[in-house]
Amino acid sequence: MFSPKTKLSFSKITAGVALTAVCTVLSATAATAAGKPIVIGLTSDASGQYANSGASDRRGMKMAIAEYNAKGGVLGRQIKTVHIDTETTPATGSRVAERMISREKVGFMIGAVSSGVANAISQVAQKYGVVYLNTNSSSPTESGKNCHRVKFVWDGNGKNFALAAVKNAVTAYGKDWLLVTNDYVWGHNTSKATRGLAVANGAKIVDEIMVPQGTRDFSTVLLKVQQAKPSVVAAAVGGDDQKAMRTQIAQLGLGDKFAWINNQQDWPDVYGLPKKNLFGVFGTTWYYKLDLPGVKEFVAKYQAAYPDTKMKVPGNVFYNGYMATKSLLQAIEAAGTTNNHAVIKQLENLKVSAADRMQHHDAWMNPKTHQMQQTVYLATSNPADSAKDDMFKIMSQSAPSAVADMNAEATCKLEALADTPQRES
């Protein structure tokens, strides 16, 4: 039996024990949260049309993550990655995103080359409120009508590249333009942007040839191009399709018969090809031979991290993957939390100096479209008998404001932050 005094003491002890238990559980939970890694889903293609670019994209993301992990991670937590092949297929992109969020419990997702895949992933990401970085897909719709509050687009888009190239090309090469367009979202929107600008600058579109995705034989297309006799051929053909097309154009010697304007040229799509396959004028956001501070060191870091990779120097796809990932990790650190709303606000206000971007101009995130506004370079094949890897010759560079996609601002309707589910990881 207990006396009243003893009873009181017992109550106090019980309360104390309960409080201690609660505190222990809470602190243990907090300690676990602090200690558990931040999981990032890498949604890059490992098969299909953009398998090669997807691998390059992934290497960029991984190098940025490795750098952060080496210095202790973010918010004192290591970063763990999960990669699932998105197969250059939008339906797979949706499934991969669902699985990453529901089963793998990723806090953030990064990666895309195909705009169709990026769009599919971002729809799922928005549903769950998972911040998603579209690193390398370039359809203007990605930061236009398919924009989302959780999605941030890191590459220049078809409109940006067209703005950099089209006006000069009409003046320099002629007014009869023929469009060769990959028959999917990026191709359509890029061609649409090129068409609009070309016509606005006095050009006439003599024909548009649609090329189904997966085309390997371009003989029919090239016969049609010859029959149309245009002065300029503006091609929006990507990935393996483009490699096959370039090879066949070079075999026919058509590279110098027409002025070829290739809206954008990804480094993994041309690396290893003979220089004669690299003709015409094209846009890019970065080149490993840019004479800017930090570029040489960045190339050396890449070579140290990936000594066995066939691609001996980093290209624009790697660069975008790296820069996007680095910016996300900086945003989490600046927010002091993994809360998605806080990270979104950080990214919306992102400003990166030209020195940090290793580009000619400062870059910033457009808060209305979530697209990185950055320097766009026009390049062509390097005719000099220089190193094998030195394939490009940079012709000009345009400031972000000169190539801004104003149409994206008109068409992008971002969801309200309040309508975006909150989450921590």
Binding site: S47, G48, A51, N52, A55, D183, I209, M210, V211, P212, G214, T215, R216, D217, S219, T220, V221, L223, K224, Q226, Q227, D240, K243, A244, T247, Q248, Q251, L252, G253, L254, K257, P268, D269, V270, Y271, G272, L273, P274, T309, K310, M311
Partner: protein
Amino acid sequence: MDIILNLLPHLLNGLALGLLFALIALGFMLIVGVMELINLAHGSLFALGAYVAMTIIDPNLSGYGAFGEWYMGLSLTLRYIIALAFAPVIVAFVGMGLEICMRRTYGKKAEYGLLLTYGAALVLEETIRITWGSAEQVLQIPDAISGAFIAGGMIYSNYRFFAAGFGLVLILVVWLFLEKTPYGSIIKAGAHDSEMVRALGVNLTRLRLLVFGLGAGLSAIAGVVLTPIWGLRPHVGVDVVIPAFLIIVLGGIGSFWGAVIGGILVGLTVGIVGALAPEWSLMSMYILLIIVITFRTRGLLGKKSALEN
């Protein structure tokens, strides 16, 4: 008249494309026709042939002293001929290895063979990726067959017509082998009644091994000839399997000339549709298949299909 003149280059191009398609289907047809097995590794063997040829043409012989210097001193034409001769032989041995793995699936449901060849396709593709990397590669061709020629105001690729001509010659050689040699007779007899062939004292196990090797070798030749046009990357084989399968179904499974006619029809269809409505060019081959199968279930020249068993 203008329309006909405009279509003429496309018809010619479609015919060349058709011969290339027939070349792709040849090895696939042989294995399906004789062994009643759908070889899903066909595309990977196609890719492997091209990679092996690329290595024979331009190997890294920096540590091989005088031999390395001597070999690289050979003309590109000679190295290309060596590659065209030896790459298919090497891939034929790989195919034979695959056939040995296949043996336990004979007499069982077709799914076993399908799964095994599908697995082999994945293994081969990854092996290529690990060995040669995932970046785009170039299979060099001799100067004599590169470049272009002008006819009727249009520029055509020399190599494309060389490839089509080579395809035509190879088709005739395989046909002569199957029709005019005792080995061909045994192979065909094995396809019709394997038990009777065995009863006549023919070693059926060895026959299957040789047929699979021959089919793999033909896939490799197609790879060597076609990748200078389509480009060379580890998954290039994926681009090949579906057209090859489509062509043999269209032509009639097991029919040699069915595969050839099927290939040429697909080439002409893709070429002409590409000229009139390019966005439908790839789709047109599937529509052609649907039309043919609707009226002739066993394909153009097909008899009883292996898939009906």
